[in-house]
């Protein structure tokens, strides 16, 4: 029961419809058909024949093209649902509660349901990734299950095919001709000139062309599988990095996820178009919106710590290079790219004050406080001095008499200072804020008067690394090669045989483009005596029409 032995003596695997060697139909169902299904050469797809263990059952499930189609449909529907509302990574919220509140606030009940069902993070959900994974399995198994038997039967096919195979081909003709053997030789010659590969076995020839186009779909699947493999690699550490950092002018910070690289911002540049330079292009738009950005640029210096460095050591950084990062012109190093993504203008950098006499506004000297690194003491001339007792970068008010700062960013700097002068060698205490001064320990003679401020800009940078891109590109390339291979070439076969009863038989098969194979046959008929062929499918459909109507 395991094998089918054909009349010609060839042993075929169970489930084979057409003998791999001579092409005889091997079961009644096939015999009853007027035309044979040539899609897989009538070879046995193993999946449909063995169905015993659980492994076989799983295998058969994934081998089915129907199942594959449904998986694709399910992925399409799910992916479409994911586009109804924005996904979480587009939502301006950081934690779960905020995200939930956002969906409810903006999209109402539907938004809440959408969020609760997990559709707001659909593409990273286990079930969506599971579906894509199942598609991957389906691609591998369905391809293996088809390409191997197809390859085998195309390799095993004999030049001389049984008449029952030939009569069931779509393009078929038979009849008696003058000098048949000479005709076959002439046909052989002509087919060779037409760049067919011709094999001869006695009075039978098989001319074949473009067999490799049959592998197109499987090459295509290989590309897809490679693509999915590349996407899978992103999950491995070291293959994919997507980080952000804020970098102030003058600051040197560690670049997240890199191997000991540091970045210093020299300058952030924001330029807009002026009316003079671009009247023609942007004139109208400038009148309407006020300003149009021309350039976002961070001038940076890249440093690398020593090889064996551990975190924290700021010393002995080696200068690597200086570069200007612009939109779409990232800084590149060691597979990393640093992109210009965002910016904040005019964060306070330093403030300049004068120590003055309150009455006369007479100045005793000027000093500048670097807000990122204030000094404890600023010495002025003639024995005058200002001591900074404490500093509140983001001052919000007092709680139980204690000044509060809500962040380390100098949004609203305030200082507790002591002013020393020859008259007050013990110092006068003052609390200096923007536009206001408190004198917590009584009336002072002197005051700190604000003079000017310096600001600096902050660059928002994105750090990217993606080692899977070459794999994705290769997968895409192989995919396209497969598409071209299967679309632009056709697998054509022409059989010509002289039967023992003196009849000559022609039959032809192609996997697509029947018109061309018929044209080829017509060309051959011009130089050799061949019986007229018919397209049996055309006759079928004509008969059906006549009978049906």
């Amino acid at each position: 029961m395991d094998k089918i032995v054909c009349t010609c003596g060839h042993v075929n695997p169970v489930g084979t419809e057409l003998c791999e060697s001579c092409g005889r139909p091997l079961n009644q169902e096939t015999k009853d058909k007027k035309l044979v299904d040539m899609r897989y050469e009538g070879s046995a797809r193993r999946s449909q024949t063995y169905n015993k263990t659980i492994i076989d059952k799983i295998w058969n499930f994934f081998s089915s093209v129907k199942v594959g189609m449904w998986i694709i449909v399910a992925i399409l529907i799910a992916a479409a649902i994911g586009t109804i509302l924005p996904q979480v990574f587009y939502v301006p919220a950081v934690n779960e509660e905020e995200i939930a509140a956002y969906y409810e606030r903006i999209y109402g009940t539907f938004g809440t349901i959408y969020y609760e069902l997990g559709l707001s993070d659909l593409y990273s959900s286990w079930w969506f990734q599971g579906l894509v994974g199942m598609l991957g399995i389906s691609l591998v198994i369905a391809s293996l299950d088809r390409v191997i038997p197809l390859y085998k039967s195309l390799k095993k096919q004999k030049t001389k095919r049984h008449i029952s195979f030939l009569t069931r081909q779509r393009v078929y003709g038979t009849g008696e001709v003058d000098s048949p053997i000479k005709s076959i030789e002439q046909a052989e010659e002509k087919l060779k000139k037409m760049r067919y590969k011709v094999k001869r076995d006695g009075n039978a020839i098989l001319a074949e062309k473009g067999r490799f186009s049959r592998w197109g779909p499987y090459v295509n699947h290989l590309g897809l599988i490679l693509f999915l493999f590349g996407v899978m690699l992103r999950a491995l550490p070291g293959f994919y990095v997507d980080e952000t950092m804020w970098l102030r002018e003058g600051e040197t910070l560690y670049i997240p996820k890199t191997d000991g690289y540091f970045l210093e911002s020299k300058e952030f540049i924001y330029e807009t178009y002026t009316k003079e330079e671009s009247e023609e292009v942007y004139g109208a738009a400038l009148d309407r919106v006020g300003s149009i950005a021309k350039n976002y640029q961070s001038d940076v210096a890249l440093y690398k710590g020593p090889e064996d460095a551990v975190a924290g050591q700021p010393e002995d950084l080696a200068f690597v290079k200086e570069e200007s990062i612009q939109v779409n012109k990232p800084l590149k190093f060691d597979h990393f790219s640093v992109f210009q993504m965002d910016f904040r203008l005019d964060e306070l950098k330093s403030m300049t004050f004068q120590l003055q006499d309150k009455e006369t506004a007479n100045s005793f000297g000027e000093f500048t406080i670097d807000l990122a690194n204030p000094q404890t003491e600023y010495k002025l001339q003639n024995g005058y001095k200002v001591e900074i007792l404490d500093y509140y970068a983001d001052f919000t008010g007092f709680e139980e008499g204690v000044p509060q700062s809500k962040s380390p960013i100098p949004n609203n700097p305030a200082f507790l200072v002591k002013m020393y002068s020859p008259e007050y060698p013990k110092g006068e205490t003052s609390f200096v804020m923007i536009k206001e001064t408190l004198e917590p320990l009584g009336e002072n003679k002197h005051k700190i008067a604000f003079q000017s401020v310096e600001t600096r800009d902050v660059s928002g940078l994105t750090i990217r690394k993606d080692l899977t891109l070459p794999i994705l590109a290769l997968g895409g390339l192989i995919f396209m090669i497969g598409v071209a291979q299967g679309s632009y070439w056709n697998h054509r076969r022409i059989w010509i045989q002289l039967l023992e009863n003196g009849q000559v038989v022609v039959a032809a098969h192609t996997n697509k483009n029947w018109l061309s194979v018929k044209k080829d046959l017509d060309e051959v008929s011009k130089v050799s005596n061949l019986p007229q062929y018919e397209d049996q499918q055309d006759i079928d459909s004509q008969e059906e029409k006549e009978e049906g109507v």
Partner: protein
């Protein structure tokens, strides 16, 4: 015949297992990606070198054999300010029992850190992570975050948020070398 059937069974099983492992791995690591980025209990604590406010250099790996109570903080962070006096008390209890306390400030100024330390009379070593590299290697978010590092240099526990004095005492007890 039986042989080829067996062979087929093994080949199919092999292919299915390989594909399943690949998918399960991908789905699993994507689901845990955010958590993966953060250090986990049992991991080796990343080494670092920082200079404290007194000018002494501290290298984490030099404290092998001792427990390390590693606290990340900011002067503007209220829970930090609340737990630090308690930390200082417990530091004085456990410092002679082989538990080091070390507080790392995230990139603030010397003046601010010193005034804070003076106000709360803190005696344990404090250092400033100026280029935020230690913060990055420990993936700190939010402040305060505390790492308990055992005498073998492995992370024993990660505490996010404020601790009571009793918590701190228990934690220090937990990483005391035996």
């Amino acid at each position: 015949m039986a042989q080829s059937k067996k062979q087929r069974f093994y080949i199919r099983t092999f292919i299915l297992v390989v594909l399943t492992i690949a998918i399960v791995f991908t789905v699993y690591s994507n689901l845990t990606k955010d958590k993966n980025a953060v250090l986990q209990v049992g991991d080796k604590a990343p080494d670092f070198v920082l200079v404290d406010m007194e000018g002494n250099e501290h290298k984490l790996s030099d404290y092998k054999g001792q427990g390390v109570f590693l606290n990340f903080w900011g002067t503007w962070c209220k829970p930090c300010a609340k737990e630090m006096p308690a930390m200082d008390n417990q530091f004085n209890v456990y410092k002679d029992q082989g538990v080091q306390t070390f507080a790392i400030n995230i990139g603030e100024s010397d003046l601010k850190v010193n005034s804070f330390a003076n106000r709360y009379k803190l005696s344990f070593p404090i250092a400033i992570d100026r280029n935020k590299s230690v913060m990055e290697s420990y993936n700190i978010d939010p402040l305060p975050t505390t790492f308990l590092i055992n005498p073998e240099g492995k992370i024993e526990k990660i505490i996010k948020g404020e601790m009571t004095e009793q918590d701190i005492a228990n934690f220090m007890e937990q990483i005391k070398p035996s």
